[in-house]
């Protein structure tokens, strides 16, 4: 038995014992189950598999460490109220915030960070990774790493704009429908129902093939498809608010509808809407990637993670991981945003501790 195996098992068992003696039962159960599983895998797969598990655990611990330090960092940096909020945030949320921050930096400073331009052909097709090209080349010999960085800018930027439009239209109409009721509610509601009755992806493909594929059309079509969902949420949230006595008091005072919506209802509806924004953002983001994968989204040579997965997909047959890199970029952002959204939902639901 090599030294690695001995140290590996030794550490696992030591951590199990420590957590058990400190009565952290959930952590103990997790580590000791892992130990038992590792015994089994060690018997079947031998040392290489154990090394992979060790790397996995290492990445997990590193992510936890970053999250922990980042939370501390933010809580010391931010003003008092925000700092208190951050201090009570779970580690997942601070990890999510960190990842989002990294993506934002990548998107904003793309030309500085990326070693090459997004359309520069600098090597042969599918060139392997070397010192010059961190992640190798794509099917035309462009630097994959540079394209991932530029992709952050395009994919995330477009998704943000799209979600923004969908939210503005959807929540405004939703709040109006709830406040005015009657025929405004009926008409808006039925239009939303109709839009939601058609399968989204197919509808998007249909509209884009009619209108032609460019970035403006892409943004407008996806915003149109997602606004009914926001409408429904905004209307449901506002529906619970308009029955409150303070709304009745404002109505009896003779306030205009606009005041009611903006000053009385919206402040009470922001929390669920913000949480929904994060969630929708992921869906829009995935929809754009899906459309790009199908060839109707962002057009070449603009770098975009969805089309990068498609373009490099042949490499999968040669058991190469290249197409998985842009896919991982999508997955990581989605997970990160969802972590933050979960946290926001938790806050807005009023659950403390």
């Amino acid at each position: 038995m090599s030294l690695f195996v001995i140290v590996f098992y030794g550490l696992l068992i030591a951590v199990s014992c420590l957590t058990a003696s400190y009565r952290r039962h959930d952590v103990f159960m997790a580590t000791f189950s892992l130990t038992l599983i590792c015994f089994l895998i060690g018997l079947i797969g031998g040392e290489p598999w154990l090394k992979r598990i060790a790397i996995g655990i290492g990445i997990f611990l590193a992510a936890g460490g970053i999250a922990y330090s980042f939370r501390k960092f933010l809580s010391l940096l931010l003003p008092r109220d925000a700092a208190r909020l951050i201090r009570t945030a779970p580690l997942t949320a601070s990890f999510g915030l960190f990842v989002i921050l990294v993506y934002l930096v990548a998107a904003i400073f793309a030309p500085i960070i990326a070693p090459y331009g997004e359309a520069d052909v600098i090597a042969g097709a599918y060139a392997p990774a070397d010192e010059k090209m961190l992640l190798g080349g794509d099917q035309l010999g462009r630097d994959l790493f540079s394209r991932i960085i530029y992709g952050a800018r395009n994919t995330v930027g477009i998704a943000l704009l799209t979600t923004g439009i969908a939210f503005f239209v959807g929540s405004l109409l939703g709040l109006m429908a709830a406040t005015l009721g009657g025929w405004v509610d009926q008409i808006c509601g039925r239009i939303a129902d109709t839009l939601m009755a058609i399968p989204q992806l197919i509808f998007a493909l249909l509209l884009l093939s009619i209108l032609g594929t460019n970035v403006v059309n892409l943004i407008l079509v996806i915003a149109l498809l997602y606004s009914p969902l926001v409408f429904r949420l905004a209307r449901a949230v506002a529906g619970n608010i308009v029955v409150m006595d303070y709304i009745e008091a404002a109505k009896l005072r003779g306030e205009k509808t606009w005041y009611l919506i903006v000053r009385e209802i919206l402040p009470n509806a922001t929390a669920p809407l913000v949480a929904e924004f994060g969630l929708r953002f992921c869906f829009v983001f995935l929809a754009i990637s899906a459309l790009s994968f199908l060839g109707l989204g962002i057009q070449p040579p603009t770098a975009d993670w969805g089309s990068m997965v498609r373009d490099n997909s042949t490499l999968i047959s040669f058991s190469q991981g290249t197409p998985l890199i842009p896919a991982a970029a999508i997955a990581l952002l989605t997970v990160a945003v969802n972590f933050v959204v979960d946290w926001l939902l938790h806050i807005s639901s009023g659950l403390k501790e």
């Binding site: 208190r84 303070y246 009896l252 009470n268 403390k352």
Partner: protein
């Protein structure tokens, strides 16, 4: 606590139940209980070392204002604390078992089976998606005390003992299909399902009408007697606790004030604070002289009928409200008193009849009324929590009507808001920038009053403004309203089901039932017999401080002649 008094009492109770050796044993023994609540990042002590003894078959009343720690102590008796609270010291011994150090699994075995809890709002505590009997049987089946079949049969038996109508059938209904009083009794039956040794009643009748309350009280007392169950009865209503408890413990801000058996406590309270609690119900304003017949009333409701869809809820209702006078509209929930208010404000356009303001008819719908007409009639709501926008600061809430109607801006606006805050006895510099969630119930209600005053109205509708508050706070609100009426010559329409409030503040009383005015007249006439049968029922159902009141009433009227049963009779 005086040592000799304790020993005496112990001796007395031991003698009374010496037949059963076991019964003499202490069931619940709390010593030096300290509980802390989390405020931001630090822990604040909210219960400061309370001792409590409870023997088998005994009912102990816990009484105090909101924030006295009554409910917190009640929950701690089950070894439970709310989220954000923790037990930081003391011992809780239940039947020889120490709860503070017991693991969660052991406590779980205890709760429901040996200690049961009856919450304030049965409507909010029952799961609306399940039948009553399914929820009833959950605990006995879970604790493996009874099979489902046995427990269902037992449920029907309990429903019968609690005098619920159709005991064999009512359990198969959903919570929304039974009335509030019935639901509260069903909840008591549920608490009894495992024949616990201890039941904690947390304000079980606070949300109920007086006529419903009385039958729930009678039922609870009866069943506690029958099964010789010990109970902690938590309430802020002194008259209620006088009927229910063998002993009373008075609490103030997490400290014990005094404890004595019910009779001696009522007759001779030792502490100043207890005496002030006892005196609360004494606030009474003299009736103002009846206004001259030819004076134009501020608001006159003339033959108004109104309906929600096909259901007629107001049937030819007429009354008038004069300047500087208070008209109390009395009746139970569903009697149409709030609907009458909605007709006056124009939220519900009446089917027929009209509402006159200073002799001129008002538009049926509030949208068709002028800004000035809207300004003249203001409203104060029952639930201050829902009446104030939680995302606005107090200054904004009160300032909006000032700037909306009066057009004041900037420094003038701030000055006027400060004046209003002074009027409601809240320090402007301290409260201007707060949010409603940072205020107590009584303070929120005061802000609601200030918002109504900010419009400078002639007429204010007070919709059950004190029913969500405990008595000391409610008294403060009533006094404030009275002072404002004298200062500003306001007319009040006071909607309430609490006759003590009517007695305190009204000049003229209108009794409503099922959308009709049953009886109306000046207050002094209304509280003097003979009454209409329904008024009589309402009046006789108001608990009094006399501990024998419920017994006397039951003896006089009979168990089947109170609450809903009596109402049905008076309708016939």
């Amino acid at each position: 606590m005086n040592e000799t008094v304790m020993n005496e009492k112990k001796a007395v109770s031991e003698k009374a139940i010496s037949a059963e050796e076991k019964s003499a044993r202490l069931l619940l023994k709390i010593r030096g209980l300290r509980i802390e609540g989390r405020v931001d990042d630090s822990w604040l002590e909210i219960v400061h070392g309370v001792d409590l003894d409870l023997r088998r078959g005994e009912v102990l009343g816990l009484i105090g204002e909101s924030g006295a720690g009554k409910s917190t102590i009640g929950l701690a008796a089950m070894g439970f604390t709310r989220d954000g609270c923790r037990i930081s010291g003391g011992t809780i011994e239940f039947d020889g078992m120490e709860l503070t150090s017991s693991p969660e699994e052991d406590l779980r075995m205890l709760r429901g089976a040996r200690i049961a809890y009856v919450a304030q709002s049965a409507a909010a505590s029952f799961n609306p998606a399940h039948r009553l009997i399914d929820q009833h049987t959950a605990a006995p089946v879970q604790h493996k005390i009874k099979t489902r079949r046995e427990s269902e049969e037992d449920a029907m038996e309990l429903y019968r003992r609690l005098r619920l109508p159709n005991p064999g059938e009512i359990g198969f209904r959903y919570p929304h299909q039974v009335s509030g009083g019935q639901l509260q009794r069903a909840m008591t039956a549920m608490a009894m399902s495992c024949r616990p040794d201890l039941i904690i009643f947390d304000e079980p009748t606070t949300a109920l009408d007086v006529t419903t309350q009385i039958e729930v009280l009678a039922a609870i007392r009866d069943i506690v007697d029958q099964f010789d169950t010990a109970a902690l009865y938590i309430t802020h209503d002194l008259a209620v606790v006088a009927q229910m408890a063998d002993r009373i413990k008075v609490l103030l801000k997490g400290d014990e004030v005094e404890e004595a058996d019910t009779r001696s406590m009522l007759e001779a309270p030792r502490e100043e604070y207890t005496r002030s609690l006892w005196a609360v119900r004494s606030f009474q304003r003299h009736q103002k002289p009846v206004p001259p017949a030819d004076e134009t009333p501020v608001i006159e409701v003339r033959n108004v009928s109104a309906a929600y869809g096909p259901v007629l809820v107001l049937d030819d209702v007429s009354f008038s409200i004069h300047r500087g006078r208070t008209v109390a509209v009395v009746g139970e929930s569903g009697s149409g008193k709030s609907t009458a208010a909605r007709c006056i404000t124009g939220l519900l356009p009446p089917l027929s009849g009209e509402v006159l303001y200073n002799g001129t008819p008002l538009a049926r719908h509030f949208r068709d009324r002028s800004k000035d007409q809207l300004r003249q009639a203001q409203m104060i709501y029952q639930m201050a929590d829902t009446a104030l926008n939680p995302k606005k600061r107090i200054g904004e809430i009160i300032g909006r009507p000032v700037s909306f109607y009066g057009g004041l801006r900037g420094a003038e606006l701030k000055k006027r808001v400060d004046e209003l805050l002074d009027q409601i006895e809240l320090e402007p510099s301290q409260y201007y920038h707060r949010y409603p969630s940072e205020l107590s119930g009584g303070q929120k209600q005061r802000v609601g009053i200030a918002r109504a005053l900010a419009a400078e109205p002639e007429f204010i509708i007070c919709d059950e403004v004190t029913s969500a508050l405990d008595q000391i706070v409610a008294e403060g609100i009533l006094k404030l309203l009275d002072r404002l009426q004298n200062d500003l010559d306001l007319a009040y329409m006071f909607i309430t089901h609490d006759l003590a409030t009517v007695r305190a503040i009204a000049d003229h009383v209108v009794v409503m039932k099922e959308g009709k005015v049953v009886e109306a007249g000046p207050k002094e006439d209304m509280f003097r017999p003979p009454h209409h049968a329904y008024t009589d029922l309402l009046l006789s159902s108001v608990p009094e401080m006399d501990p024998d009141w419920l017994d006397d009433l039951l003896a006089k009227r009979g168990v089947d002649n109170i609450g809903e049963a009596a109402q049905q009779k008076s309708a016939l």
